[in-house]
Amino acid sequence: MKNFKSKILSQKSIALGYMEMKFSWPEDCETPKAGQFLTIKIQEQPIPLLRRPFALSAYNQEEKSASIIYQVRGTGTEILSSMKDGETLDVLSPLGNSFTMPKKKETPLLVAGGIGLGPILYFARELDKAGYSPILVFGCRDKSLIPDLPPLKNGRIQFCTDDGSEGFHGSSVDYLNCLDSSELKNAYVYSCGPTGMLKACHNFAVSKNIPSETAMEEMMACGVGACMGCVVELAEGQEKQYARVCKDGPVFQSRIIKWT
């Protein structure tokens, strides 16, 4: 973990309201893993005050660069989206834990919704490189929200739209339910996105008796585990009632989360 200054290398829109930003990564900073995140100090002025958290969506060892995919939602991300190549970012990273590599024989089912795409994409590419055949399922409202993504080598990317304007007509969990049992036999579910989707992925995994991990999101202040602000509630039977998303997560076994 390091607090460093980074140069913006490029920024582009990848779907309606979604940006991808690439920036330099310092030589002396550890390699971020899929699932880990960073926080960016938006500006010197105290509005908005807090740093903004984003998941890493890519890391390039040769180029010493990393990327995030983000949605323009409010003041902070608006300012971020107006920043130009060459401008300086104040970054604190890598933070949090990461997804666990599945066992060799398992088929990774990676489910992303909205801003959950970043960490899922990073992990899908890692798994693809490592010789797995990941299936990345990305669900959204309609085709305007579908990003332009280079294909995976061994695995595949499946888009799902609520209105059927592109790809599978239905939610990403509807799609999972259509997979045949041979694909599900040794599957491992990984999810990141809106809470409703995460819960549905968890329920799906439980019903098929397959393991499942989920990357959570909560409002953060410190991002390093000091303030106890970003907690999620854990299921009954766990040793603790709450866990910190920034330090104990953001990735959790979905069965330890209390889904309400």
Binding site: K2, K41, D90, M219, C222, C227, M228, V231, K240
Partner: protein
């Protein structure tokens, strides 16, 4: 240049500490700032029993500030001694234990159980947490209770005893005088200011508890006013905090009467704020020809 501050029989090496609840128990920030340069670490509050804390969400951002409703989530006294003290023992800066409770006896119990630890430099008694139902704030708003609690705790320890005051009162100077009368060695002002945000889309408070504690730049003028008034009302050192983001803010507090300072919310935005504030105070002192912290005082 003498930056040290004497409180009771002990000395803080410099005026810039980090505030309770914003720095954990030190360990989390070790990779990000030089802990040995801190004037003091004020730990997250410790209560007798572990506390899970309040339901979520616990945080909401406000204009130039944030509201928290953590609810004193902490590992409890046993957990503190087992899990946190080993790391704190390795530090060269003073470690000040922030103590919280619901009853007078709870505060006393924490101090009784940890006082033998040499790693603890002194205590900051949190009589001002707005985020728990019982005790906390209830103590800090009544001068009679403040004096009684202070004198009870005074008998239990020879270490410095700092009472941390709430701004959520009619007259903070009356509370400060009560703490002094009870035997406090210093007072710290301020804890968070009660605040609330309403989520207009969900048509309910943004945090389940309704109100929470406002911190950050938004409360700096409240903190400065408290320090200004309290430092004129008592003869013990006043530790100032609330919205300090940089050296200029810190100098404002020192000129208003603070002898030492704490950096809170600013740690979240820049984990090395304390280092930068200390460097800035030194620069200001050099330029103003000040040789010691007390040179700041008495300008108005």
């Amino acid at each position: 240049m003498d930056l040290s501050i004497k409180i009771k029989n002990k000395t803080l090496p410099n005026p810039v500490g980090v505030a309770s609840g914003t720095f954990g128990y030190g360990e989390e920030y070790a990779p990000l700032t030089d802990l040995s340069k801190l004037g003091a670490i004020y730990t997250k509050a410790v209560t007798v029993e572990p506390r899970p804390g309040n339901p979520l969400p616990r945080l909401v951002e406000t204009p130039a500030g944030m509201i928290n409703s953590i609810g004193l989530a902490n590992v409890g006294t046993k957990g503190f001694l087992e899990e946190k003290i080993p790391f704190l023992k390795t530090l060269s800066c003073p470690v000040i234990l922030n103590v919280a409770g619901s009853l007078e006896e709870d505060y006393a119990e924490v101090i009784r159980r940890v006082d033998f630890q040499d790693a603890i430099w002194g205590y900051e008694v949190n009589i001002s947490c707005p985020n728990v139902k019982h005790g906390g704030l209830a103590f800090g708003t009544d001068p009679v209770q403040v004096e009684r609690l202070t004198s009870t705790l005074r008998k239990l320890t020879d270490k410095p005893l700092i009472m941390k005051l709430t701004p959520n009162v009619t007259d903070i100077t009356a509370i400060a005088r009560a703490a002094e009368a009870g035997g406090a060695d210093a007072v710290a002002c301020i804890n968070t200011v009660m605040g609330m945000v309403v989520d207009i889309h969900k048509r309910k408070p943004a945090i389940p508890a309704g109100t929470g504690g406002l911190s950050g730049p938004a409360i700096k003028p409240v903190g400065i006013a408290a320090v200004y008034r309290v430092s004129k009302a008592v003869n013990i050192p006043v530790i100032g905090l609330g919205g300090i983001m940089n050296a200029d803010d810190a100098v404002e507090y020192l000129l208003a009467g603070a002898s030492a300072l704490q950096i809170g919310t600013a740690n979240f935005i820049d984990p090395d704020t304390s280092g930068k504030v200390l460097a800035g105070i030194k620069k200001y002192m050099r330029e103003a020809g000040f040789t010691k912290i007390s040179d700041f005082h008495g300008y108005f």
